[in-house]
């Protein structure tokens, strides 16, 4: 039992940076990235031997879990987040490290499932059918979500927005 978790510890040590990075791309901010990685890794770790038996690629398994958790979590917190946006926020510019990266900002504004599809496709390099398996949707859905997302991104990035003022 102790050695199971020693093995899991080594796995976490090796993969944590990569998973945090993936989480950041997926969620768009470091806090949610940490939250997501931690939640998923805790669950995976608590049944590590069975995960190892079930899959030869635990990292891919974890990334899929993160994409799904992100989509469902977003649904849960959506209302709360909207309420938390207080009117006093107006008049200030929110400091954003990607202020001059319109493409990343636009990715961050996509609906969560579309964002997950984009991240899995263009960051993880998965095929449409692999993404379909990962997210538990049909390949047709992946195709339509991807093309919708790309169309949105091209529109947003293609139109310069006056940022001064």
């Amino acid at each position: 039992m102790a050695s199971d978790l020693a093995d899991f510890g080594e796995f976490v040590e090796a993969e944590l940076s990569g998973l945090l990075r993936y989480g950041y791309v997926l969620t768009g901010n470091p806090h949610d990235a940490s939250d997501l990685v931690q939640t998923v890794l805790e669950k995976i770790g608590s049944r590590w031997p069975s995960v190892r038996r079930k899959t030869t690629d635990p990292v891919a398994y974890i990334r899929r879990s993160m994409a799904n958790a992100h989509i469902s979590r977003w649904r849960r917190v959506k209302r709360e987040t909207l309420v938390a946006e207080t009117p006093e926020q107006r008049g200030y510019t929110e400091a954003d490290p990607f202020e001059h990266e319109p493409l990343l900002r636009a990715v961050g504004q996509l609906p969560p499932r579309q964002r997950a599809v984009i991240v899995l496709r263009y960051y993880e390099g998965l095929s449409e059918s692999e993404i379909a398996d990962s997210l538990g949707v049909s390949p047709g859905t992946v195709k339509s979500q991807a093309s919708k997302a790309i169309a949105t991104l091209r529109t947003r990035v293609g139109t310069p927005i006056e940022s001064d003022g």
Partner: protein, 242 residues
């Protein structure tokens, strides 16, 4: 536009997208404690599950009889106790909810600031320039360029004691808005009006109190409809952010 042009344009666009998603600024460095914290949490989670399987439906009865067993039963809301293990000081329960996760992405681990003091918060001091603030390692997004005018920043602290800070390009750190942090006198968001009036020499029954700290700043305390503190800010006397 021909279909061929459109395909080439699309390919170019998706190449750019790949490059953007591979941006180095998306890298997060895990803290030294992160691995152990995750392994410990995974172990606790498994242990709780095993206890659940072993005792089944008689869990409640067994817990009531055995006393100490209660500690091993998962409590809603305390699932992620990483921060409790790692923190030297106790913190209000509200601060614990997210702290476990946030501790992982912190770049630095400054000494734990718990108080919204008369001069600042933790190592942050009213009037500090953006560059100085960035150097403390307390910003959530240290890569953000300095803003012109006034800008709001989030901190990378574990417990989110502070909701955000406002920094003026002209006057430095202007406003610190608390989420769970309290004044040295113990006033925090959620405190009653009576508590504020007992702690500070203020006029009675105002909707907003301004309390000079005597150290270049003042507390701005807003009372909500429920007669409790709805907002607590430490404000620099000299600032242009409002």
């Amino acid at each position: 536009m021909t279909e061929h042009d459109d395909d080439a344009e699309l390919a170019e666009f998706t190449d750019g997208l790949r490059a953007s998603l591979a941006d180095d600024r998306l890298a997060l460095r895990p803290t030294a404690a992160a691995k152990d914290a995750i392994v410990a949490a995974a172990r606790r989670r498994r242990r709780r599950r095993e206890i659940g399987y072993a005792t089944g439906g008689s869990l409640a009865v067994a817990a009531a009889l055995a006393g100490g067993v209660l500690l091993a039963i998962p409590q809603p809301g305390t699932e992620s106790s990483l921060a409790q293990d790692a923190r030297p000081t106790s913190a209000p329960p509200a601060a614990e909810a997210r702290s476990g996760a946030d501790v992982m992405a912190r770049q630095l681990a400054p000494s734990r600031p718990t108080r919204l003091g008369p001069r600042g918060y933790g190592v942050l001091r009213l009037g500090m320039s953006y560059a100085e603030i960035r150097q403390t390692g307390m910003l959530a997004h240290p890569a953000a360029p300095p803003a012109t005018g006034c800008a709001r920043y989030r901190l990378a602290e574990a417990g989110r004691e502070v909701r955000d800070i406002v920094v003026s390009a002209e006057d430095g750190l202007a406003v610190v808005t608390a989420s769970t942090a309290s004044t040295p006198e113990g006033v925090s968001v959620g405190s009653t009006r009576e508590q504020v009036e007992r702690s500070y020499p203020v006029d009675r029954s105002a909707a907003r109190y301004t309390i000079a700290t005597g150290a270049g700043g003042y507390y701005r305390v807003t009372i909500g409809a429920d007669d409790r503190v709805s907002r607590l800010q430490l404000v620099n006397e000299k600032q242009d952010c409002g």
